[in-house]
């Protein structure tokens, strides 16, 4: 299924069907009483209860959409569309996960739909960011250790900014998979369904994206680098 065929409401059904662990967890899941009461009120048509939900989750959902879209206006539109879709489909919410998990899934899907609606742009190759090898299979540029802690290490805020900047430099199709798998913690089946690609393609893109990110971080973190 391609992303263009995937509606926001389909995200309501995306519950990690390929993951037996998650399926078992859903069967035994009990929603916290406060959330259960809130969603009951929404399902009865109490819009004030829905406003409470929007208030509680809007900031986090905006951050999720911004990561994927890297454009504040698009992120805001995606979150608004997602909240509206969730409101329309609140009756179908089966309470097998937290409200935040449910909304997260819908926002991720809305953001991906928006990403797709921008149209395909020519993408830079990831190859220059992957390790290169000599004919005998040894690395051309040997790897060295990284300094991540101690006095010489880059401070936390700078390190986070560096990681954000390096992720932003990844080609979009790889960046999206890395964000979905390593940051948004979507499982391989969910990621494949969201992107309309195979699980094998998800795994290949993720491995390449991590290698490329390692290449981009390396000059800043390797032992003995100038800061």
């Amino acid at each position: 299924m391609g992303l263009e065929e995937f509606s926001v409401s389909d995200a309501l059904e995306l519950t990690g069907a390929g993951d037996p662990g998650r399926a078992a967890a859903r069967e035994t899941f009990e929603m916290p009483p406060g959330e259960a009461e809130l969603i009951e009120r929404v399902q009865r048509g109490d819009a004030q209860a829905y406003e409470q939900i929007v208030r509680a989750h809007a900031a986090r959902m905006l951050a999720v959409a911004q990561r994927l879209l890297r454009n504040p206006e698009d992120a805001r539109d995606a979150v608004q569309e997602a909240f509206l879709a969730a409101y329309r489909h609140a009756d179908g919410f089966s309470r097998q996960c937290r409200i935040g998990t449910w909304l997260h899934r819908i926002v991720v899907n809305a953001a991906l739909m928006k990403l797709r609606s921008r149209g395909r742009r020519p993408e830079e190759s990831i190859e220059p960011l992957l390790p290169r090898f000599q004919e005998d299979g040894h690395m051309i540029a040997p790897a060295t250790g990284w300094q991540e802690s101690g006095e010489a290490a880059i401070d936390l805020a700078k390190r986070h900014a560096l990681v954000h900047a390096c992720i932003a430099r990844l080609p979009e199709s790889y960046r999206t998979v890395l964000l979905l798998r390593d940051i948004e913690e979507q499982d391989p089946d969910e990621t494949a369904a969201l992107l309309g690609i195979t699980v094998n393609a998800v795994n290949i893109r993720l491995h390449r994206a991590r290698q490329a990110l390692r290449t981009l971080l390396d000059p800043h973190l390797r032992v003995g680098c100038a800061r």
Binding site: G45, D46, A47, Q48, Y50, E51, V54, R55, A58, A59, R60, L62, A63, Q66, R67, R76, V79, Q80, F83, L84, Y87, R88, P131, F133, D136, G137, H138, M139, P142, A143, T144, G145, W146, E148, A157, R159, H160, V163, H164, I167, L178, D182, I183, N203, L206, H207, R210, Q211, L213, R214, L217, D218, L221
Partner: protein
């Protein structure tokens, strides 16, 4: 096993998806190849650093509720269900 094979196997190694034979070859290469030992440590650190960099949404957005967004959403919901509009006022 070469460094090229090692890096190809890396994600499967971390997912515990290698066969016993592949795992044995992988471990043997890791003992003799300092570059791949560093590469594995870097690769693991990359995954961890990425997760840490996005762990705090307040670092990406100012803390607090984005009121304009809440207003826009509640207005859109009100438009969807006009008969319940009084509940949002």
């Amino acid at each position: 096993m070469t460094c090229k094979d090692f890096i190809e196997f890396l994600d499967r190694y971390l997912n515990g998806a290698l066969t016993p034979t592949e795992r044995e070859e992988f471990s043997r290469h890791l003992v003799i190849c300092r570059d791949c030992d560093h590469y594995l440590a870097n690769y693991r650190a990359t995954i961890r650093l990425a997760a840490e960099a996005f762990a705090d949404p307040d670092a990406e957005f100012p803390p607090g509720v984005p009121e304009d967004l809440v207003r826009a959403v509640t207005a859109a919901c009100r438009a969807e269900t006009p008969e319940q509009s009084h509940e949002i006022e």
